[in-house]
Amino acid sequence: MHGGGFSRRDIHRMARSAGRRSNARRPDVEMTILEEVPAELQEQLEDLLDREEDIKIAISTDLQFDGTYGKDWVLATEKRLLAFNQNGAPGPEIQNIALETIDQIEIRELHGNNFMKVRTSDSAFEIARYSKRFVPKFAEATPEIELLIDKVKPEETDKSKRHRKYVDPGKNKIRCETCGRPIPRWSDVCPNCVEKGKLLFRLIKYVVPFLKVFVPALLIMGVIRLVGVYPPILGQQLIDNVLIPATIAIDGGQSVDPGAFGQLVTIVLMMLGVHVFTAVFSAVRGYMMTWVGQRITLTLRNDAYRHMSVLSLDFYQQRETGNLMSRITQDVGRLRDFIAEGLQDIIGDSMALVFMCIIMFAYSWQLALWVLLPIPLIVLFSFYFGHKMHKVFHVLWRRYAGISTILASTIPGIRVVKAFTREKYEVDRFQEQTHQVFEGEMNAAKLWTLYQPIMTFLTYIGTVLIWLIGGRQILNGELTLGEITLFMTYMTQFLQPVRTLAQMNRRFLRAATSAERVFEILDTPPSVASHKDAIDFPNMRGQVEFRDVFFSYDGEKNAINGISFTAKQGEMIGLVGHSGAGKSTLINLVTRFYDPNEGEILIDGYDSRDIELKSLRGQIGVVLQEPFLFEGSVADNIGYGKPGASRQEIVAAAKAANAHDFIVKFPDGYDTTVGERGVRVSGGERQRISIARAILKNPRILILDEATSSVDTETESRIQEALGRLIQGRTVFAIAHRLSTLKHSNRLVVLKEGEIDEIGTHEELIAKGGTYANLCDKQTELSKIRAW
């Protein structure tokens, strides 16, 4: 945005004057913290800086202190911090702050803008104001300035007030890395930078196994299109060679050629033959191409899902469920449409157009030119109209969505509506919305009712031109009646392929974007995987040791900040702490949903990364706060972790989990369908089914994540009892807000901001009178109230 580059504004201007957007737009926020300082500042700098003083950081703002848009500067050298603030004045006001006087640099994050502030021991200065667009740049510069300060006064650094090194947000980017354009919300790849050619080439690889069907289908289509242009020629011959001579003969009082009827029948039979041929082979081709398309869908969909199941949790964390689902369902479908239909349509329609043009030009090139004249008009009109229609329908779609919103909130909320007697208000609101839909529909109707007549008119221009020009040629003896009929027929046949091809670009683009989204899944390597020398470890004892473990989800804030402790075989460890203290993260590391950034987790003395994932997870059981039941029977859900479990085992597990009694009360017993579309199972019941699932798996290491938090006291005691059986002889990590859940624990680990605050038995921690003791006091008070 300085020096030789184009500013965004330049490009806007260029684009507007060129009538379309430039493709060569550069990122408008350059993530450099050493920008090129303009000449007029350079001059002033010479007076301000000592000899051999280097500018280490130079960043510009987009706001001035008076709240107007404008460019101020913040510069840092190894000695000082300089701020140039224009504020509408001709020369900038300069703040010159020696680094050794600086205590702290603060970033004030406010609504719509941020301030950078420097604090000294007795004063403070605001040195920059910038909009949210420059947040990454300033976040990157701040720790760098702090490093400079630290160098000046290494002895008195208070690291706690320092800013963390700025880390790239990674996958959730809002702007494309290559072109700088925003990435639309519906996508997570930049549609501008999708390499269409390369992607489509890659798609062809999926066609290759089916070439023996794909190619013949393509050939058949070529033949169909070629044969398809023949009937008008037959018509022309019928008129010119049979009918006209006969008419002339009759007019002249002569008898008609006796062979004429035979010729008539031959030609009509040929016409019929062509149509039968086309119909039969179209059907065959359609079937073949559907087969190819569906085979490709099958392969692609299964490949994508198989690979997705291998991918680690962080992949899922960074993406919305709906987004991933649509890749497997919609995007794959769109690719099939493109390969099976789009691609062949494009080839076929182009062929048909070329054939028709060749024939028309062969008959009369002058007339052919006239016929083609309205075509650009029709294309332009389709484009323009499509654009307009899209807008109108979008508005309409939003208004319909408004109706759904009202219904979706008032039908479930009807008790509130009635209790507050707001029926009339809701009816009025609904009527207003339906009225808007009515208006939207009428707007759409206005357009639609116009579209058909205009399209017909444009086509009719072609027809009229043929009559006019062709008619004159007939009068001059340059054209025959049959030929003019041929042109008429082609005129109508022309429209369909023209319209298809007009939309070609959009189809290409959609397919390429879909391909990118599907291939992104296939190209992502799992971040947690077994390496090839990983050991199989079937007889785990279950000792878990954390050794200086550090972990961060985003690279910005450590969720686990140096944790070391050992859970002995068969020991139950209770994890306590506020939400965000790192309890769940610790558990995610044990199960290897994530791997630590630093340090290691040893299981029976082996680094967990050296153990085959399947073998490791095969011996870890989990009971979660909101247990997930899959679509299927109760028995299926209990047996999920142990394929081929016998009925006896399943019932035994259910009994151990205190689940048997309520399961037998279901009309369908263990065959009751649960899950999304199954019967509603209460939270406590679900919890016990999931405990049975864990018992059956018989894991060495067990994880209880808030297993009793969402149930009533009565149910809790039943679950407690079941858990008591489950934990025997296993190494257990239990998270709970209700400390009573942790009463079986051998030791408690109190976490605070990713670090171990306290560790010890319940009695030890109570005696210590620290965080845990405090927490216990509060809960005892609460439980008094909760007692009933």
Partner: protein, 169 residues
């Protein structure tokens, strides 16, 4: 018999005559409450930022606990009023758009170029959902970076701006 609570009693405004607002040596907002306690830095928060920007201002301490509510800043002493208004203007930066020069979109992303009361600006929106239309033609816009802009009543803009805008709302 016990009376139901009077909800009027639940809101206690800071007495504007007893409240003092100033800046300390670090340029931070300092508040002396009617009870004589002094707090700094104090963060002013608009409780109705869109509808009542100058009324019901909440004062928060460094732990984000509310020190009290100011009913209307115009009740404060002139000098205090100026300081508070100045701070609020900093804390809430939402330029008013006066003219739209250019809107173009592709793939649902739109690029805008507009004049505001504080200079001209260009920004990007990630989807139409980033534009909120309120009663009376008022429009709120949130750009891709989290910056916000508003239009008082878009019907009062020039015809070209209206045409451009209407393709988006």
């Amino acid at each position: 018999m016990e009376q139901p609570i009077r909800i009027e009693d639940e809101v206690q405004f800071l007495d504007p005559k007893l409240l003092k607002i100033s800046r300390n040596q670090f340029g931070e907002l300092e508040a002396e409450l009617p009870d004589g306690s002094i707090h700094a830095p104090v963060e002013p928060v608009r409780t109705f930022p869109l509808t009542q920007p100058n009324q019901y201002i909440s004062l928060l301490d460094t732990h984000k606990n509310e020190l009290g509510l100011i009913e209307d800043i115009s009740q404060l002493k002139k000098a205090d009023q100026t300081i508070l208004a100045e701070e609020l203007k900093k804390c809430y930066f939402m330029p008013k758009i006066t003219k739209i020069h250019f809107i173009a979109g592709r793939f649902g992303v739109t690029e805008w170029e507009a004049d505001t009361e504080v200079g001209s600006v260009s920004f990007d929106l990630r989807s139409r959902n980033d534009i909120t239309t309120l009663a009376g033609g008022r429009i709120l816009i949130k750009d891709i970076d989290g910056n916000r802009y508003e239009i008082d009543n878009y019907h009062r803009l020039d015809p070209k701006s209206i045409t451009l805008l209407e393709t988006q709302i």
